[in-house]
C-alpha cells in the first residue's frame, strides 16, 4: 500500500461526525457558504445513527425566561465547572442556546414537551438553580438527531458514511490543514479527502474505562488525531462519571449503560451488598447529590466490599411501589427487563460509568483551532465546561458550537480560494500507522482493550492518586506495546471490525496516556477530577487548567491560568437581590 | 424451503388474515371465469349444463362448492374488515375484527354445507 494507491476526493467543506455538532455544522455551512460550495459529511457509522447526541435522555439546557436568565445559566455553568471553564465560551454557549432551541423547534422541526399552557416544559438537573432543561420525555436525543438527520439527508450534502477519519494531513508547507485521510470501512480502501475547512465533531467519548456510557463508535479518534497533528488539548484529566451504570457482567455490551438520573431524583435508593443505604454517609443530599459526589460515594462503597463476585452496589426502587415505578419509568424498566433485571420490584446492580469528556482541543469562541482550516466543536472541543459538565449542557454545547462552526467555515471559506496540497510525508506516516496491524501476526484485540479498560478504571478513574496514575501510565504503555505486537489478518478488509477495533484501541491508548499525564499534573481536586492525595480544591482565584501537547511523541503538560474575563470567583453577574435558586426545594 | 420456515416464524394473526384474504381473492379471480363459462352453457348447450350440474351432486363437488362459498365469504368479510380498519377511526381491535370475519364466514359456509347435504 502506497500513497499513490489512495483514492482522492475533493470537497470545500468537510465535516467529521454526525452528532449535534456535525449536523448543525452541515446545515449552517449550507446557509452561510457561497453558492456552489461543496459540503461533505463523513462519519464512522450511519448519518445520525451513531454518536451520543442520539443517546441524550434528560435534555437541553436553555434559559427561556420565567425568572431564568442567560446570566443565571452562565453562573451555574461556571460554578458547576468549578471556575475552570473558558468564560467566553461558556457565555456564548448559554447565550446561543436560546437561539438554537428556537431553531430546533421552528426550522428543524423538533417537538419538545409542553406545559399545560402550550409553552416549553423545563425541569432542573442537579446543579441548576432554575428549571431549565427542555426535553422530549426521556428520549430527547432521538428527537433532536432524527429531525437533524432528516434535514441533512434532504439537504443534498455529500455523504461519506461508514468512513473513518484516520489522520489529519497538513499542507506541504505545514501551515494549514490540507485534508483528512479516511478509510472507507465498507471496502477497506483509503481515501484522502481534501477540503478547505474541516470540522472535527467526532465527540470524544471516554470509552477506555471498564464501565462507560457512550456509543460504541466513539473512541477518542478525533483527539488522538489532533494530538498527532500537534494541537493542544486542555482539561484532559476531566472525565465525568455517571453514578448509575448498569452492571451486567463483562461479556455484555449492556454493561455501563446509563440508568437515568431521574431514578434517584424520584427517591431511588442506593444500597450496598450488605443491604445498607450509604449515600448519607457521604453527603447530606444523599442519593440526590451531584453526579461526582454520588459516583465517589459508590466507588468508595465498592472498595469496601472486597468481593470480586459482587462488584457494584444496588439501586432499589421497589419501596416506591412497583406499579408506580413501572408507569413513571417505563422505558428504563423495559430496558432493564430486556437484559434480565427487574427494576420495578427488585434491585439492579450499578456502578459509576464514564460518561462524558470535558477535555478537548483548545479552540476560540468561533471553533477555530491553532491549525488553519481545522475547526472543532462539540465534545471534542475543550473549555466550555471546565472541570465538570452540567447535565443538559452537553447537547446544548454540541448544537450551539456546531452551528457556529458551520457559520464560521462558511465565512472563512470565502478567503480560501484553493485546496491545499497535502504533505506526502505526513500522509504516508498516517497511512503506515493505519495499516500497521496488517503487517503483524494476527491475534485477539479484545483482551487488550479489556486490560486498558480495567487499568484505567482502577488507576485513572473515579478517585486518583499519584502512585495510581503512575502505575496507570505504565499499564497503558504495556497495553500499547502489546497492541503494537498484535496484528489483524489482512485478507479481507471490507467491513473488517477487528481492524477498526485495533485502530480504536490505538486512539484510546494515546488519549489514556494524556488523561493520566494531565491527571498527575493537577495536584488538587476539582469537579470530576478527585485526588485522594490532594483532596483540596485549591484556591479558586488561582485556578489554572492543564494543556497537553505532544512533542514528537513525548507529552508536554503546561498549566495555564484561567482568565476570569466575565466574572471572578466569589462574585456573580446576577443582579443584586436575586435568589440563589429558583428551583423549589424537593 | 428456509423461506417457508421464515414465513412461518413471522406469521401472526393479522398476517394470516392478510394471506387468507389474498389467497381467497386469487382463488375467486381464477374461479369466476369458470363459473361464468358454466353459466353460459345454460343457453348454448342446456343439456351439457344439466349434465354438468348433475355431476355436481357428487361429494367432491359439494366440497368444492363449499370451498367456493367459503372463499367468497371469507374474502368478503376479510375485505369488509380491512375497510373498517382503514377507514373507521382506529380502534386497536384489529385482531378481534379478523377473528370475527373468519368466524362469520365459517358460519355461512357451514350453513351452506348443512343445507346442501
Amino acid at each position: 500500500m502506497r500513497i499513490s494507491d489512495i483514492e482522492r476526493y475533493d470537497t470545500d467543506i468537510l465535516i467529521l461526525g454526525t452528532g449535534g455538532a456535525g449536523m448543525f455544522a452541515a446545515l449552517h455551512a449550507q446557509q452561510s457558504a457561497p453558492e456552489g460550495t461543496k459540503i461533505t459529511i463523513a462519519v464512522k457509522g450511519l448519518i445520525g445513527k451513531c454518536g451520543c447526541t442520539r443517546m441524550v435522555q434528560g435534555g437541553y439546557n436553555v434559559a427561556l425566561g420565567g425568572g431564568d436568565t442567560v446570566e443565571r445559566h452562565f453562573m451555574d455553568t461556571i460554578q458547576g465547572g468549578k471556575w475552570l471553564p473558558n468564560q467566553d465560551m461558556a457565555w456564548r454557549l448559554c447565550e446561543q442556546a436560546v437561539v438554537r432551541i428556537r431553531e430546533l423547534e421552528n426550522e428543524v422541526g423538533c417537538f419538545f414537551d409542553r406545559n399545560v399552557d402550550g409553552s416549553l416544559h423545563q425541569k432542573a438537573f442537579a446543579g441548576q438553580t432554575a428549571d431549565r432543561t427542555v426535553h422530549k420525555g426521556d428520549l430527547t436525543g432521538i428527537e433532536i438527531i432524527n429531525r437533524l438527520m432528516e434535514k441533512v439527508l434532504a439537504s443534498g450534502v455529500e455523504k461519506l458514511q461508514e468512513h473513518r477519519a484516520a489522520g489529519l494531513i497538513p499542507s506541504k508547507d505545514g501551515s494549514a490543514l490540507a485534508g483528512v485521510l479516511m478509510i472507507d470501512m465498507r471496502t477497506g480502501k483509503f481515501k484522502l479527502v481534501r477540503a478547505k475547512t474541516v470540522l472535527m465533531g467526532t465527540g470524544g467519548g471516554p470509552t477506555m474505562y471498564k464501565y462507560h456510557t457512550p456509543s460504541g463508535d466513539k473512541t477518542m479518534d478525533g483527539l488522538a488525531m489532533a494530538l498527532r497533528a500537534g494541537l493542544s488539548l486542555r482539561d484532559m484529566e476531566m472525565v465525568q462519571f455517571h453514578p448509575t451504570g448498569l452492571l451486567a457482567g463483562d461479556h455484555t455490551r449492556m454493561t455501563g449503560t446509563v440508568l437515568e438520573e431521574g431514578l434517584r431524583g424520584a427517591g431511588g435508593q442506593l444500597v450496598s451488598h450488605s443491604g445498607q443505604r450509604f449515600m448519607f454517609d457521604y453527603d447530606d443530599k444523599g442519593e440526590r447529590a451531584t453526579r461526582d459526589v454520588v459516583s465517589r460515594g459508590i466507588y468508595a462503597e465498592m472498595r469496601k466490599n472486597n468481593n470480586s463476585e459482587q462488584e457494584g452496589v444496588f439501586i432499589s426502587m421497589a419501596h416506591l411501589g412497583p406499579d408506580n415505578v413501572r408507569e413513571k419509568f417505563k422505558g428504563m424498566v423495559k430496558r432493564c427487563e430486556d437484559s434480565g433485571f427487574d427494576l420495578a420490584a427488585g434491585k439492579v446492580e450499578v456502578v459509576p460509568t464514564a460518561h462524558y469528556f470535558m477535555g478537548g482541543v483548545v479552540v476560540d469562541v468561533d471553533t477555530r483551532t491553532a491549525m488553519e482550516g481545522l475547526y472543532v466543536a462539540g465534545e471534542d472541543a475543550g473549555g466550555a465546561h471546565g472541570s465538570n459538565r452540567l447535565g443538559g449542557n452537553g447537547v446544548a454545547n454540541s448544537t450551539v458550537y456546531g452551528g457556529i462552526a458551520g457559520d464560521t467555515m462558511g465565512a472563512d471559506i470565502r478567503s480560501m480560494p484553493e485546496l491545499r496540497e497535502p504533505d506526502d510525508e505526513a500522509l504516508s506516516a498516517e497511512l503506515e500507522r493505519a495499516i500497521y496491524p496488517l503487517t503483524k501476526k494476527p491475534d485477539l484485540v479484545l483482551p487488550l482493550r479489556k486490560r486498558l479498560q480495567e487499568l484505567m478504571w482502577e488507576d485513572v478513574g473515579v478517585m486518583r492518586t499519584a502512585t495510581g496514575m503512575r502505575r496507570g501510565l505504565q499499564g497503558i504503555a504495556d497495553v500499547s506495546d502489546a497492541l503494537m505486537d498484535t496484528g489483524v489478518a489482512s485478507d479481507n478488509l471490507a467491513f473488517n471490525l477487528t481492524w477498526h477495533d485495533w485502530l480504536n484501541l490505538r486512539s484510546l491508548c494515546d488519549i489514556s496516556e494524556v488523561i493520566a499525564v494531565a491527571g498527575i499534573a493537577r495536584e488538587n481536586s476539582r469537579g470530576a477530577h478527585y485526588r485522594e492525595d490532594f483532596p483540596d480544591t485549591g484556591a479558586m482565584e488561582d485556578s489554572d487548567f492543564t494543556v497537553v501537547r505532544s512533542n514528537n511523541g513525548k507529552m508536554e503538560v503546561i498549566r495555564e491560568p484561567v482568565q476570569f474575563t466575565i466574572v471572578r470567583p466569589g462574585e456573580t453577574i446576577l443582579p443584586e437581590g436575586e435568589p440563589e435558586t429558583l428551583v423549589a426545594a424537593q | 424451503m428456509s423461506n417457508l420456515r421464515d414465513i412461518k416464524s413471522r406469521a401472526h394473526p393479522l398476517w394470516l388474515a392478510y394471506i387468507i384474504h389474498r389467497l381467497s381473492g386469487l382463488f375467486l379471480a381464477l374461479f369466476l371465469p369458470v363459473h361464468f363459462w358454466v353459466l353460459s352453457l345454460a343457453i348454448t348447450e342446456p343439456a351439457s349444463l344439466d349434465g354438468f350440474l348433475s355431476m355436481t351432486q357428487g361429494t367432491q363437488f359439494k366440497l368444492a362448492e363449499f370451498g367456493l362459498v367459503f372463499g367468497l365469504a371469507v374474502h368478503m368479510f376479510g375485505g369488509l374488515r380491512l375497510m373498517a380498519m382503514e377507514w373507521l377511526p382506529w380502534s386497536g381491535r384489529q385482531k378481534t375484527w379478523a377473528a370475527l370475519a373468519t368466524a362469520i364466514s365459517f358460519f355461512i359456509a357451514a350453513l351452506f354445507l348443512m343445507k346442501a347435504i
Binding site: G45, K49, C50, R54, M55, R100, I101, R102, E103, E105, N106, E107, V108, G109, F111, R114, L120, K136, N146, E150, K151, L153, A154, R186, S215, G216, D217, G249, H251, T252, R253, M254, V258, M302, S308, D338, S339, D443, L444, L446, P447, V488, D491, A494, F495, L497, T498, D501 | D6, R10, H12, L14, W15, Y18, I19, R22, M85, E86, W87, Q94
Partner: protein
C-alpha cells in the same frame, strides 16, 4: 477489584485463536455453564451458513453473541451497532427469521434449545455478513416528505402547542421511531414491491401531517397518494407486530388512507 477470571478467560481465548479454531475447543466450553450453537449467515459473496459454538452467559443479548464471534472466533465477521441500548436503531438483524433489535434482545428469548440463527436484515442490500445498506430505507424516508416543512425561523417565538389535542396525540404516537428498519424488514409488501415507501417512512409522513407546525400537508398528501404510497399497504400489520418500540405504523398508514380517501372525494380524485 482486579478480575482474575477475566484474565484467565482472555488468555485462554488468545490461545484458542492461535489454534485458529472456529469451533471453540472444549476447555473454553468447560469454563462456562453451557454453549450456544449459533448459525450465522455470511455473505453476500461466498454466501453460506456458518455455525459457531459460543459460550452462554446469564446476561447476554443477541448482539453480545454476534460480538463474541467477531471478537473471539472469526475476526472478519461484519455487523453494525452503535448505542447498544435500543436508541440508535443500527443493530437490527433477522433472528430465527424474525427482524429484531439485537442489542435489546436477550438471547434466552430467541433460543430454540441452544440454537439460534442470525442473518442480515431482510429487504435491504447486504454490504457484508450481517451489515446491510440502509440507504434505500432513508432515501424513502426523505422521499415520503419525512422532513419538517417549516414556516417559522429561529427569530420567531416557539409555537404554543396543546399537547392534549388530538392531532398532537396522533403526531406523538409515532415520534419515537428510531428508524431501525425492523418494520421495513418485516413487511412482505416491501419485499415484493421495491417502490413501496414502507411503514416507517409513511408513519413519519403521518406524524408530520398531524404536526400543527408543519406546512407540508399538500406535498405529503401528494406523495403518499402516489405509486409508492400508502395504498400499497395491505394492513398485514407485521410492522406493528415487530416494532421494538411498540409503535403502530399500520394505524398511521390507515390514517393516511383515510386522509387521502377524503381528499379523493373532496377534489374528485
Amino acid at each position: 477489584m482486579k478480575n482474575k477470571g477475566l484474565i484467565a478467560f482472555v488468555e485462554s481465548s488468545n490461545r484458542l485463536y492461535r489454534d485458529e479454531k472456529l469451533n471453540l475447543a472444549a476447555d473454553l466450553r468447560d469454563m462456562t455453564k453451557s454453549s450456544l450453537a449459533v448459525t450465522i449467515e455470511r455473505g453476500p459473496v461466498d454466501h453460506r451458513m456458518q455455525v459457531f459454538d459460543v459460550p452462554a452467559y446469564d446476561n447476554q443479548t443477541v448482539l453480545d453473541v454476534v460480538s463474541w464471534v467477531q471478537q473471539n472466533a472469526d475476526p472478519t465477521l461484519s455487523y453494525r451497532f452503535a448505542c447498544r441500548v435500543g436508541m440508535c436503531g443500527s443493530c437490527a438483524m433477522m433472528v430465527n427469521g424474525v427482524p429484531r433489535w439485537t442489542c435489546r434482545t436477550h438471547i434466552s428469548k430467541v433460543l430454540d434449545g441452544n440454537k439460534v440463527t442470525i442473518g442480515p436484515l431482510r429487504n435491504l442490500p447486504i454490504i457484508k455478513d450481517l451489515a446491510v445498506d440502509m440507504d434505500p430505507f432513508f432515501d424513502k424516508w426523505v422521499a415520503a416528505e419525512g422532513v419538517h416543512h417549516g414556516g417559522l425561523t429561529r427569530d420567531d417565538p416557539i409555537a404554543a402547542i396543546d399537547e392534549t389535542s388530538s392531532e398532537r396525540e396522533e403526531a406523538n404516537a409515532g415520534i419515537e421511531c428510531i428508524n431501525c428498519s425492523v418494520c421495513y424488514a418485516a413487511c412482505d409488501t416491501v419485499a415484493g414491491n421495491s417502490n413501496y415507501l414502507g411503514p416507517a417512512a409513511l408513519q413519519r409522513a403521518w406524524t408530520l401531517l398531524n404536526d400543527s407546525k408543519d406546512e407540508g400537508y399538500a406535498a405529503i398528501l401528494e406523495i403518499v397518494s402516489g405509486s409508492g404510497g400508502c395504498h400499497n399497504c395491505h394492513s398485514m400489520g407485521s410492522c406493528t407486530a415487530y416494532c421494538p418500540n411498540e409503535l403502530d405504523p399500520m394505524s398511521a398508514i390507515a390514517g393516511l388512507k383515510r386522509e387521502t380517501a377524503k381528499s379523493f372525494f373532496k377534489r374528485g380524485r
